[in-house]
């Protein structure tokens, strides 16, 4: 019968796994694209990490030792851009690709070919970003990008052609993010298994839904801002040039209208992964599901309208700074609620401490600390002192490493057995955790003192009064940076082999992804599960 043949051919199609380079270049499979994203992010993590270690090497001692000032600033710029756009965002997108279809019972992403496109734009964008770094070293390449990732004019108008490479890199990265976001939103709204109502979705899926909306709202603003910069540089406009009637502060508003929500874009998916991890290892249901959903929507909404707290020192009116101060402090309510819910999930649980849970606990503690220094920074009078000092550097590394990067590590350890079908080496992973967390604190904690004592950020050389804490910070940074080689080794080892993972890898794990084998078949949920 024709129907039988059809279904037979259909099944064969499902078993077919393409091989060789075509499997990856032409991939429309959410798992393969997720893997590509994760490999890309890991590569970028090492490049961004290497640039940070060079920066810390220069700051190890007072005096100019390793780097010319412009090269130093170039590395500072590239470290930020690579970590944010190359490492954290693609890693979170990789998790989304891998996990959202598995978690909502969908066979794949809704727009598989666009999925391919949104990934394969990234290597081109990364190449453009690298070019912006190396072009000045070629004859006629112009000066280096010495602006920091904020790209504030008029300084960014002085930079040579490498700034143009960077502007195009940002355009490409933005297109990739927006495409991925559209795909995620469409997938979540249309591909959920029967019975999987919005309020039954795992929190990780919720965080990505909110993140995707944030991306679509704010990335075009950044793209517009850098386009105006491009026009000022080459086509005689004066958007940001005071001498031509323009306004240098306008760029800061455009940048931070993107830049502040970007912080939540970076941390929400990671905090979303915690909502799977903490209940699993506490062996009890997630505390406050509804309030978590409400909290993250509140974070995204309020987070969109408090951007100018990055610019208290530009001399806004009293009313404006008061508004931005109170708005920013108010964000502590939903953020505090999220943290509270995770702690309440642990409370009266029967906890065990496998590596994902170790990271989760560390995140709750360290992210709380970073959040509280954030409240300090939100307070205008005090910020007039902290602003643009090393205190700020310490603060945002306490927010973004625990809030985003450690959350990604936790998620990778949590789902790695599901992806590879092998358990990772728990002993090595615990060594990695402790080295990583301790050296992280040694690196960034002393920077608070440096900032309070008066050390500005982004300086290549400093007075001897700042030596001690810089030495400690740099030593910590070298250990912290190198510890990630252990992460790489653990991941490779788990990919190549190891104890076979059960479908339900962790004792207390709940959710659709654990109903599938480990690793899941190349095409999963071809028949939608029924969710009750």
């Amino acid at each position: 019968m024709s129907t039988a043949t059809l279904s037979h051919a259909h099944e064969q199609d499902h078993d077919h796994v393409p091989t060789g380079w075509r499997r990856w270049l032409f991939s429309t499979n959410h798992k393969d694209i997720g893997t590509l994203y994760l490999i890309f992010a890991l590569t970028m993590l090492f490049i961004g990490g290497a640039s940070a270690m060079l920066v810390r090497a220069e700051l190890f001692m007072p005096g100019l030792q390793l780097l010319e000032p412009d090269l130093y600033n170039n590395l500072v710029t590239n470290h930020a851009l690579i970590m944010i756009f190359g490492a954290v965002m693609p890693a979170a997108a990789g998790l989304a690709n891998w996990m959202i279809p598995l978690m909502i019972g969908a066979p794949d992403m809704a727009l598989p070919r666009m999925n391919n496109l949104s990934f394969w734009i990234l290597p081109a964008a990364a190449l453009m970003l690298m070019l912006s770094f190396v072009v000045p070293f070629f004859p006629g390449g112009g000066s280096q990008i010495n602006t920091g990732w904020t790209l504030y004019p008029p300084l960014s108008l002085q930079v040579g052609m490498s700034m143009d490479f960077l502007i195009f890199a940002i355009h490409l990265l933005g297109i990739s993010s927006v495409l991925a976001s559209i795909n995620i939103i469409v997938t979540i709204f249309n591909m959920r298994a029967p019975g999987m109502s919005l309020m039954k979705m795992p929190i990780f899926v919720w965080t990505w839904l909110v993140t995707a909306f944030l991306l679509i709202l704010v990335v075009p603003v950044l793209a517009g801002g850098v386009t105006m910069l491009l026009f000022d540089r080459h086509f005689g406009t004066s958007f940001f040039n005071a001498a031509g009637g323009g306004d240098p502060v306008l760029f800061q508003h455009l940048f931070w209208f993107f830049g502040h929500p970007e912080v939540y874009i970076l941390i929400l998916p990671s905090l979303g992964a915690l909502a799977s991890i903490v209940p699993t290892f506490s062996r009890k249901p997630l505390f406050g599901y509804k309030s978590l959903v409400g909290a993250m929507i509140a974070i995204a909404t309020i987070g969109m309208v408090v951007w100018a707290h990055h610019q208290y020192t530009i001399g806004m009116s009293l009313g404006a700074v008061k508004y931005f101060m109170i708005g920013t402090i108010i964000i502590s309510i939903p953020v505090g609620l999220m943290i509270f819910n995770y702690i309440a999930t642990m409370w009266r649980g029967a906890m065990t401490f496998e590596t994902p849970m170790l990271f989760a606990v560390a995140i709750l503690l360290l992210f709380t600390f970073g959040g509280l220094t954030g409240v300090m920074l939100a307070v205008v009078p005090a910020d007039l002192q902290y602003h643009d000092s090393m205190f700020v550097v310490a603060h945002f590394h306490y927010v973004l490493l625990p809030g985003a990067v450690f959350g990604l590590f936790a998620a990778v350890f949590y789902w790695l057995p599901k992806w590879t079908g092998h358990m990772y080496d728990e002993r090595l992973a615990k060594i990695f955790f402790w080295t990583n967390i301790i050296s992280f604190n040694i690196t960034f904690f002393p920077q608070h003192f440096l900032g309070l004592a008066g050390m500005p950020r982004r300086i290549v050389d400093y007075n001897a009064m700042f030596t001690e804490f810089n030495v400690v910070s740099s030593l910590g940074a070298f250990v912290f940076g190198l510890s990630h080689l252990l992460l790489l080794y653990i991941v490779i080892k788990a990919v190549r082999g190891g104890r076979r993972a059960e479908p339900r890898v962790w004792e207390g794990a709940k959710g659709l992804e654990w109903e599938l084998s480990s690793p899941p078949p190349f095409h999963s949920w071809t028949a939608a599960p029924q969710v009750r």
Binding site: M61, G63, D70, G141, G142, G148, T150, Y152, P154, L155, Q158, G160, A242, A243, P248, V249, F287, G288, T313, I314, G315, L318, V321, M325, I329, I333, P334, G336, L337, I339, F340, I343, A344, T345, M346, W347, R348, G349, T352, L364, L365, T368, V375, M376, V379, V380, P381, A382, L384, Q385, D388, F449, L452, G454, P456, I459, Y462, N463, T467, V471
Partner: protein, 369 residues
């Protein structure tokens, strides 16, 4: 070798740290009325943050110790359904809101005091102009200005990167209004002992104010990334009594009058004197970009040693120095007097083997303006 010797110094660091009286852990003690207010806001916020941190750490650690499977603890599967589970979404935000309002309330009161410049008849206006990479301070009421530049380690000693050639001299017990602006890119005026910083933005004039309560020397740095030598824009304030300040103003005015008279005279200067003057001026005003040895920092800052401009026509050379070069970091230097320009150009045309033999007199500069 230098790197190696620095590495060898490492074990001595602990000793050095102990030798220095204090290792900065908090704000330096504020010396302005505004700074006192800011310091107390900082301490209040930090105290609240610390209490909250201890609470969170306490709950988490308690839970980590007691609620573990290895101790045979059985998970409470209905915890989230208790009254606490049902109402925590109200309780927690209300508690956090209370803390938030406490912080915001105390901060708002202080904010108004520091944000609005008080109206005062004896308000001293100081215009702070950021340049790549030096500070210009104009005493608007006294028609005086101070150019304040980074000095090298040989002169600065322990205060390297926090010492300048000419300090910003300010009176104590006087309300001072700072008017920040910039000639090129963004900078920020920051003296930690004052308790605040404010951006210097081209096309804007931003306001801040302070009343210094203690005499002394207070050191800060530019706080907004401004390009290559951002690290070399120290700010040094010398706070003196109003009487000494008045004396200083008179003294500076006398120096200014004498310098103007010297530059304006039709005297023909011998080459040696111009070269000596030129070297000093070149190193302070041009050296940051074109480098003391004239080798520049290509491609942004071209070399002057053997350059076509420095060895070519005098008129073109004078033009670039006086009027700058559009589209580059080279700014117009027409604020310098004729003698200064003549000395710099003479120096550039004869130093580092440029050896053109040209001697430029102030009169030639006056003609070129």
């Amino acid at each position: 070798m230098r790197r190696l010797s620095r590495a060898c110094l490492l074990p001595l660091l602990g000793v050095a740290g102990a030798a220095r009286a204090e290792l900065g852990l908090n704000f330096p003690p504020p010396v302005t009325t505004v700074g006192q207010e800011i310091y107390s806001v900082h301490m209040v916020t930090m105290t609240i943050a610390t209490v909250l941190l201890v609470l969170v750490f306490g709950f988490v650690i308690w839970s980590l110790v007691h609620h573990r499977k290895s101790r045979g603890y059985v998970a409470d599967q209905h915890f989230h359904e208790s009254w606490f589970g049902r109402w925590s979404w109200v309780v927690v935000p209300v508690l956090v809101l209370g803390v938030d309002l406490t912080i915001a309330g105390s901060a708002s009161r202080t904010l108004e005091k520091i944000w609005l410049v008080p109206k005062s008849p004896d308000l001293l206006d100081v215009k702070v102009i950021g340049h790549q990479w030096w500070w210009e301070y104009q005493y608007v009421d006294h028609d005086l200005k101070v150019e304040s530049r980074f000095v090298g380690p040989e002169k600065a000693g322990d205060n390297y990167l926090r010492e300048v050639d000419h300090r910003l001299v300010l009176p104590t017990g006087t309300k001072i209004r700072f008017l920040q602006t910039s000639a090129d890119v963004l900078h920020a005026f920051w003296v930690p002992e004052f308790g605040f910083k404010r951006d210097a933005i081209p096309g804007y004039v931003t306001e801040s104010w302070a009343e210094i309560t203690r005499e002394g020397v207070y050191r800060g740095q530019c706080a907004e990334l401004c390009g290559t030598w951002h690290a070399r824009m120290p700010i040094v304030v010398e706070a003196v009594s109003p009487q000494r300040f008045a004396d200083w103003v008179q003294e500076q005015k006398a120096i200014k009058v004498a310098a103007a008279a010297e530059a304006g005279s039709d005297k023909v200067w011998p080459k040696e004197q111009l070269m000596a003057k030129g070297e000093e001026l070149y190193v302070t005003k041009c050296g940051a970009c074109h480098q003391p040895g004239g080798e520049g920092l290509p491609p942004a800052f071209p070399a002057l040693k053997g350059s076509a401009v420095a060895k070519g026509a005098i008129g073109a050379h004078l033009d670039i120095v006086l009027n700058g070069k559009a589209g580059t970091a080279m700014q117009p230097w027409n604020a310098l007097n004729d003698l200064e320009i003549a000395a710099i150009v003479t120096y550039e045309r004869n130093a580092w083997g440029n050896d053109t033999g040209d001697v430029i007199q102030p009169a030639m500069v006056k003609a070129a303006r």
